[in-house]
Symmetry: C2
Subunit: 198 residues, 2 copies
DNA sequence: TACTTGACTACACGATCGTGTAGTAGTTTG
DNA sequence: CAAACTACTACACGATCGTGTAGTCAAGTA
């Protein structure tokens, strides 16, 4: 994804092109012929390497999941951030996130499993962080969904901001805005108490 | 949408079926033949009434937008809530929201305009409510996107909760979880200050 | 050298898509 | 009564889709 296209094997180029086009246009919106053209190969080669469109999506699912987990692991161990500054990380991680969300919407089990693992992680995190919502599972699910919302509606959010959020600058802006959503309490304790009485 | 199907004109049944199927499967995922079958008419009649698939989506866009605005207006004037209790409102509004989000993702200008109007409304609301984020526009855009995220990821969120959020009970649960996200400050003021120093 | 294997292309297939055309039945209108 | 119009169906069209088949070419191997 980060290396020059001509240095990659045809199989890798097909997979990268599939992740890119699937993520941008949706699974149904990107044909095998589109992906083959994007990768610079024949459509038959896509079938030769992956068997079917479904199997291609499966391969993309597992690759994207592994890459995201790998990136997450490298990010958490703060000691070694070699080559993981935002400027190089963003162009790699953003298309992966985009693809995963699209695959989720298409009903992929692998992508959905990744979402469920994310909810589990957020749930554990609320415990260790001392956050005690009344509905912890619901809270974690909402937080996980929110993290993905800007990817899905990136065109609309970009238009609302007058700034492309697929760029690093735009992405950082909406990321900080999301942080403000999480840190500014919308309701006063008094209002919360009153809404509970109803 | 709420009346018995046999009491509606064929045109209305086609439109309702289109909103339902477009919302569930996406624009590309629902064919004109599918919609015609769902409405109990021939595929030719869809074309007769709406001209093309694009024009059908346009008609659905405007209908959904008008209905949502109408519902919103009836909800805000608290005096008259005739027939607008959640039990009857939910089955009407939920498919409309689902469709609007799908249409947005498909690049519909009408649906995107509705999103931008929503962002404007949230922005105005933060002003009158005394909420002052550093990036007010970004804050409003994030909040508007969040409101729609659970519709898109409804299958994943439902699976995470073990409860179908398309039902009124499930929808209320995730709605309250979202409220908790907005009301529980994630970071302490100390942590916010520290993150700003970086 | 002869054989096998894997990467790769060209091409044809049936299905499905949106769309176009022709025509029927019932109602309205002059 | 005849013409016109509207709601509606049946059917065929070209395009595109995922897929299947056959074959080329280069590299490895016995």
């Amino acid at each position: 994804m980060d290396r020059a296209a001509e240095d990659l094997t045809a199989r890798a180029r097909i997979r990268d092109a599939a992740i890119r086009l699937f993520g941008e246009r949706g699974i149904e919106g990107a044909s095998i012929r589109d992906i083959a053209a994007e990768a610079g190969v024949s459509s038959g080669l896509v079938r030769h390497h992956f068997g079917s469109k479904e199997a291609l999506r499966d391969a993309c699912d597992h690759y994207a999941k592994d890459r995201m987990i790998q990136i997450g692991a490298e990010l958490t161990q703060n000691g070694d951030l070699t080559g993981l500054d935002p400027l190089t990380l963003h162009p790699i991680a953003f298309p992966l996130q985009l693809y995963i969300v699209r695959s989720m919407m298409d009903g992929s089990e692998t992508a959905t499993a990744l979402f469920l693992e994310g909810v589990d992680a957020v749930e554990d995190w609320t415990v260790s962080y001392g956050i005690n919502p009344k509905d912890r599972r619901g809270y974690a699910a909402a937080l996980a969904a929110i993290k993905l919302s800007v990817f899905i509606l990136r065109d609309q959010v970009s238009k609302a901001l007058g700034e492309d959020i697929t760029t690093l600058e735009g992405y950082n802006r909406i990321g900080q805005a999301l942080m403000e959503v999480f840190t500014i309490p919308l309701l006063t304790p008094e209002q919360i108490r009153r809404s509970e009485e109803k």
